[in-house]
Amino acid sequence: MTTTVEPQAPHTAAEQFAMRQQSPLQRIQQVLHSHPSISPLLVLILSCIVFTIINPRFAQPNTIGIILQQVSVIAALAIGQTLVILTAGIDLSVGAIAILSTLIMANLAANNGVPGFLALLIGIAAGVVAGAINGALVTRLKLPPFIVTLGTLSIFTAIALLYSGGQQVGRRQMPSILTWAGTPILIGPFRITTGVIIVAILALIMAFILSQSSWGRHVYAVGNDAEASRLVGIRVDRVLFSVYTVAGLLYGITAWVQIGRSGTASPNAIVDANLDSITAVVIGGTSLFGGRGAIIGTILGALIVGVFRIGLSLAGVDDQWRVFATGLLVIVAVSIDQWIRNVKA
């Protein structure tokens, strides 16, 4: 047996190369690598400063309250989307599941005389079942998540339309518990709604579970390297199934927030939710390749989109520039993700 003794000094050329001074850019790359939420945070702060300089009304508490309310639904959906994307999947049925849940809650309460609280629970349960169906298709039939959720996007949308007859349910027809999430509350100078609080609590709970529990760790591991996870004894299928099911639960709760926000349950609401939620996740620094990202980033990503919407409209710019800027942000965010994934030791 040859015992390899580590050479003390002088260092080899390669070792000297390894110990070389790093350029500032490389150091930024390393910092971003270990804290991926820094870049969306910087973008958020910078855009807030710029929009305030353009139009000082932007910094008013009133505006901030409106941004938070506008962002709440997409942010909540994006939390579920983050879970799915962390496992290297994607969920295109987000919006469809949320709409299905809103229509089930609203119709049960308005047309079938089901007590409000029970209607709410059944609506949320429908979201859980829909998520579980996605999870079962991904794990049992071993289909790519993109295909599964592309299919269930159509299926759930069709079910929602068939069930509701394409009719929306108005505020007057619904019991107060279903519209409770729209209750305005004042926190200091900020005028927000109970829905915003619900979403904030959801974000905190999921962030805690992802970073502190072994389930959270397994979600990252599965997205990172499913085969390695299987080899160390993680039940990959079980983790994936649970992720889609929990995502469904989150979409179901979001349905409640959505009814509160719009005051109605409409089959035509949140039609852009699929892409908007993915946009928020990606801008927030979560990698589409799985295994990397965090809830805090997603919330920042959703806020960035909301800030751009209000900021550009206050700046008197055509709304299409907001769409333009969002597209640009997505591409920049994914480029940054690619760049920091190539970090060297």
Binding site: S34, A221, L231
Partner: protein, 282 residues
């Protein structure tokens, strides 16, 4: 592969080399692991053709053989990744039947795969404890299910230090920032930490360079020094002859013999492996 061959290869005109291991099989109460008459077929293809194998306490047993000789099938049959069609597996003298790799793992057998089975974005400590995370004590762990991140980090550091892996200090470092050899060191350290019976290393150096291979061979010696037997599957003759106590030569689904680095040369081992020569029966 369709002609059945067993370890009793017929003496033929190709000539023979020195004595192999004693033909009498060891008493299974003396071995850590024994396989007896293991058979595994895949349709008409014979994977294992009545193989016997023994692993003694504190030894490094290498399994060598050409592609398709049945090395991996043998190891999979011993560690639950495959269920043999017939035959018996004894662990510490007691017959066991592993249906899944988890069963074997539960019995104290850890396997390291050549594919560097680590999650790159997770840190070293997370990878060490992946799949068997520890929770905090008290209500934080039992009610809030919080991980004992600090304790796991400390223990991961101790495990690495015990195995003499000094090049990696920070257990919070993401595994993807490590070199291939260091990543494999994490996987080997994980196996050595949690194994109570023995460690299986399946081509652990196949993806590694020369220096990194040396580090892994060092680790094998460290594990052996701690009293854990090791089964090493490898193609690399110099490596095998450097670390092994005994060498099990797989050939055509059977066993062409068991030799030691002292009784035979690498060239002879290759000759037996390829069938150019056969072992003289004692």
């Amino acid at each position: 592969m369709t002609t059945p061959r067993t370890s009793q290869l017929s003496e033929n005109e190709k000539g023979t080399v020195g004595l192999g291991a004693p033909p009498v099989l060891a008493d299974t109460s003396e071995t850590v692991l024994s396989g007896r008459g293991l058979i595994k077929t895949f349709g008409r293809v014979v994977g294992l053709d009545g193989v016997d194998v023994d692993l003694f306490p504190g030894e490094v047993l290498s399994v060598i053989g050409d592609n398709g000789a049945g090395k991996s099938t043998l190891i999979k049959a011993l560690t639950g990744a495959l269920t043999p069609d017939a035959g018996h597996v004894y662990l510490d003298g007691k017959e066991v039947q592993f249906r899944t790799p988890q069963d074997a793992r539960g019995a104290g057998i850890e396997t390291v795969y050549q594919t560097l089975a680590v999650a790159p974005a997770l840190d070293i400590s997370a990878n060490m404890f992946l799949g068997r995370e520890r929770r905090r004590s008290g209500p934080l762990g039992s009610i809030f299910r919080m991980l004992d991140k600090k304790g796991m980090k400390e223990d991961a550091g101790k495990s690495m230090a015990n195995l003499g892996i000094a090049t990696v200090q920070n257990m919070g470092q993401a595994v993807e920032t490590l070199s291939g050899g260091q990543r494999q060191a994490v996987a080997v350290a994980r196996a050595a930490t949690f194994a109570t019976k023995f460690v299986v290393l399946d081509e652990p150096t196949a993806a590694l360079g020369v220096k990194e291979t040396g580090q892994v061979l060092n680790l094998i010696q460290q594990i052996k020094a701690r009293g854990l037997p090791v089964i090493l599957i490898s193609h690399n003759m110099p490596n095998v002859f450097e670390v092994s106590d005994r060498i099990h030569i797989a050939r055509l689904g059977g066993c062409a013999g068991v030799i030691t680095p002292k009784s035979h040369t690498p060239t002879e081992a290759v000759a037996i492996m390829t069938g150019a020569t056969t072992l003289q029966k004692g």
